[in-house]
């Protein structure tokens, strides 16, 4: 289909490992969002891109978290030196500017 896709769907990492999570937005969607969702909670905003520009990264919990969208399409969320508290589902959403957000299925990260 033409929806938002994320990979991998599941990732298990040992504490201290680096991980990279990928998001493929809907073609033509200028805006891209990353959220972190803990079990039983709503999504928490991490960062927002408009094209390749990262306009808001106020939600990133620490400097171990880094996101990029170099060509204004695919985005990667990187977490360095993962900790157990990083275990969560990481959701990506894309939209036209000011439009409805379309969410991907998420990547479930488990840090052992």
């Amino acid at each position: 289909g033409a929806g938002v896709s994320q990979s991998p769907r599941y990732k298990v990492a040992k504490r201290g490992q680096d991980v990279a999570l990928r998001c493929d937005p809907i073609s033509g969607h200028v805006s891209l969002f990353w959220y972190q969702q803990a079990l039983g909670q709503g999504p928490e905003f991490l960062t927002y891109f408009q094209n390749e520009a990262q306009l808001d990264k106020s939600g990133l919990p620490s400097d171990r978290f880094f996101a990029e969208r170099p060509e204004g399409s695919v985005s990667t969320l990187k977490i360095q030196r993962t900790q157990q508290e990083d275990s969560a589902v990481y959701l990506c959403a894309s939209s036209l500017v000011g439009g409805q957000q379309f969410f991907g299925p998420g990547t479930r990260l488990t840090v052992l």
């Binding site: 909670q41 709503g42 969410f103 991907g104």
Partner: protein, 106 residues
């Protein structure tokens, strides 16, 4: 911290009954949105209500908004087992509540 807070946290009803979920928020808004999330899936946008609207309908969904009380409600009529999911309100594009887990029993 999350902008919207849903109430109740969990709701269990029989198929055919109506389900009502409430959302409270803290700051001024331009619009409020409701989303649904099935287990293990991403969020699906259900309905958006603008701050100058009081009520909006979409199929079996009815949303109300009271900006003076900073609250919204989502009513699902004639519920079906397939409506079983978590429901979230978002009082701004970036902030979601903690959700109501709805279980519709067949």
């Amino acid at each position: 911290s999350q902008q919207g807070e849903e109430d109740p946290q969990a709701l269990s009803i029989q198929e055919g009954e109506n389900a009502t979920m409430n959302c409270s928020y803290k700051t001024s808004i331009n619009n409020l949105q409701w989303y649904r999330q099935n287990s293990g899936r991403g969020l699906v946008h259900l309905i958006l209500i603008r701050s100058n609207e009081r009520e909006k309908h979409s199929g079996r969904l009815r949303v109300t908004l009271d900006t003076s009380k900073k609250s919204s409600s989502l009513l699902i009529t004639a519920s079906r087992a397939a409506d079983t999911a978590s429901y979230f309100c978002a009082a701004s594009v970036l902030t979601f509540g903690s959700g109501t887990q709805l279980t519709v029993l067949p």
